[in-house]
Amino acid sequence: MEVTKLVCIGCPNGCGLTVEHSGKTIEKISDYGCKIGLEYAKNEFTEPKRIITTTVRVKAGDLPFVPVKTKDPVNKEKIFVVMKEISELEIESPVHVGDVIRSNIAGTGVDLVCTRNIKKVS
């Protein structure tokens, strides 16, 4: 049995988590403070994922960029592939919080959504 120590990123508490495992099979997860931690430990051990936040160019908006996020976490290995695809985007204004601007970004199965309202200006 091996032991892997993790730190939960689910909330500002940052609980230390303990995963006991045989090779890649999880035997036991302990020290989590809530169910977010338990879920995080499982995912982090098997397939670490992160939400990506960045910005996208907007045409004729009241601001030149709109902040965006991946609606769900994406595989950590894919972060820079996703960033590359986002950097090539330019969208039309107006946009609203929650608008999907690219579904299935970089083949991750996750949608890219706006996180701020941008008005159109002529």
Partner: protein, 425 residues
Amino acid sequence: MKKLEYDLVVIGGGPAGLAAALEARKNGVKKILICERAPYLGGILQQCIHNGFGLQYFKEELTGPEYASRFIDAVEQSDIDVKLGTMVMEILEDKKIISVNREDGMFEIGTKALILAMGCRERTRGAITIPGSRPAGIMTAGTAQSYVNLEGLIPGKEVVILGSGDIGLIMARRLTLEGVNVKGVIELMPYSTGLIRNKVQCLDDFNIPLLLSHSIVEVHGKDRLEGVTIARVDQKLKPIHGTEQYISCDTLLLSVGLIPENELSSKLGCEIDTVTRGPVVNEKRITNIPWVFACGNVLHVHDLVDNVTQEAEIAGRAAADLINQAAAEVEKDVVIRHDQNIGYVVPQHIDALNNKEKTVKFFLRVKNPDEHVRLVVKDNFDQVLLNLKKTIVEPGTMVTFNLPRELVTKDTSSISISIAREQAE
């Protein structure tokens, strides 16, 4: 000069100002004006495009702009007036506020109550006196955040970050995502001052080194920054001779703390706490001037925006009570004291006879990290009012606790708060 009349004026349209205005409106205040210096509402949340906000308040994880939009939408749907691009120049003793903007020029606002919600600003290179020349490429982490997230500009190609505060950690990740080579984060203290989750997801995820107990002893370059010399520091935080190393970089970001922005409050005559650098307030967030309230980062620098919102709602309700003439007249002031392990406590005093809310929520910061401590609250009769166990305390994370009102009586004149290592049994 144009003259306006309001029941309540809120200075600052960030998370504190928005929540305070909405809460005052909810409690019956009719004519409310928010004055915001920037061309949009939301304050600094608008450049904090990362997620991690709102877990406490909304029970879901939001980005900064999303968190702000919940309050902005509510304000826009209300009859609260907003003046953007508006800078308050002076607050006068006779409840008048002198402001200026492009549309109205210089104008005067009369009010019954005022809520200060101006937030804070970053400490700069001047505040920490880094020796060396003054090349371009040295800026605060928040300035870089504004460049990258609002204007789409990259501040440099090779970056060193001084200070492990959360903004510095967040910018390490943000710049890495944009293809910048972040060479490391240098921290003077022997511990990271930001949240541990940010060290994990912003530095460890991208193998960015964090050098604890290190400082910058020299900056190099004339027109543009070319590099920095760093050195290890001893227990007194003095650089150790012989440990110097050179790191080439064209950009240095400073994430070395925040200072509440209280020029307006000081000039008006608000008593300022020398530790928090914000006004001294009671539990209703009333300053020493009875019609002036303060909340959010102008009062003390918070770790989470969720706490700012809650505090702003307290101030909003209290301002509504004053305006609606529902505030209790009789006051019995209780002073809050603390021991030397605690940096500060907010509120600094409470009204023993105010019984509108069942508990008083206290915010405090410890001076040094510690484990397995007890937080003990006593009154002036040495009676223990609360005795709480805290597993981990650290300066970067605010400690909060609720004191039930019923424990404070008309005979209470002071309350003392201490934090000490648990005695082994």
